[in-house]
Symmetry: C2
Subunit: 100 residues, 2 copies
Amino acid sequence: MAFQETFKALSDPVRRDILEMLKNGKLSAGEIGQKFEMTGATISYHLSILKKAELVRESKFKNFIYYEINTSVFEEIMLWFTQFGKINNETTNSNGGKNE
Amino acid sequence: MAFQETFKALSDPVRRDILEMLKNGKLSAGEIGQKFEMTGATISYHLSILKKAELVRESKFKNFIYYEINTSVFEEIMLWFTQFGKINNETTNSNGGKNE
DNA sequence: CAGGTATTTAGAAAAGTTTCTAAATAGAAA
DNA sequence: TTTCTATTTAGAAACTTTTCTAAATACCTG
């Protein structure tokens, strides 16, 4: 997984809204687009970024393309965040704990 | 907390590197800058974005400004991610589970 | 106070992102 | 096969972000 692509993908509010729409299951590109005041081309651009970041997967049925969440990349991102959970001040501090 | 500011702040690799540098304790703006091939002005710009997003806090000592991680915002972001943990396909699916 | 170091602010250039319209593709239905 | 619907691709315009240089601020040391 490429962190850069994943975080960039998550940095846009339209794309985070799309992910929230998908958390209860698959939706087609058209169904997703109905919720936004944007052209289908723009939604397609956002979906392509989510797909490149592997945050969603697509599947085809008739002439629809369905999108759904790909949980595994979310798990890897969560793991990245865990490193900031516990902070160790004072001991490794460059100024020997002099300030505050 | 403003999600938009937080996710935008996390979307830049320089800012994520700064956060990783800070996970063992405080560092001054100058100490942070030494690790990058960028002017101090650019580092200052990145620090201002991390500060606005409340991902870091600053404290002054002599004529240095020290930066450190602010854990609470990380916790809120982690919470946002948990909603994507369990996916419920088939039941709420707009196409009645016809595809795949 | 004068000179020095650390950091920020302002403004501009360069690079990247988001959105649009118009055209292309692909598959379904008639 | 022709036409229709769903979606994507291409190219351009508008906007945002990142970086730089130069100048400003702020605080420390002698």
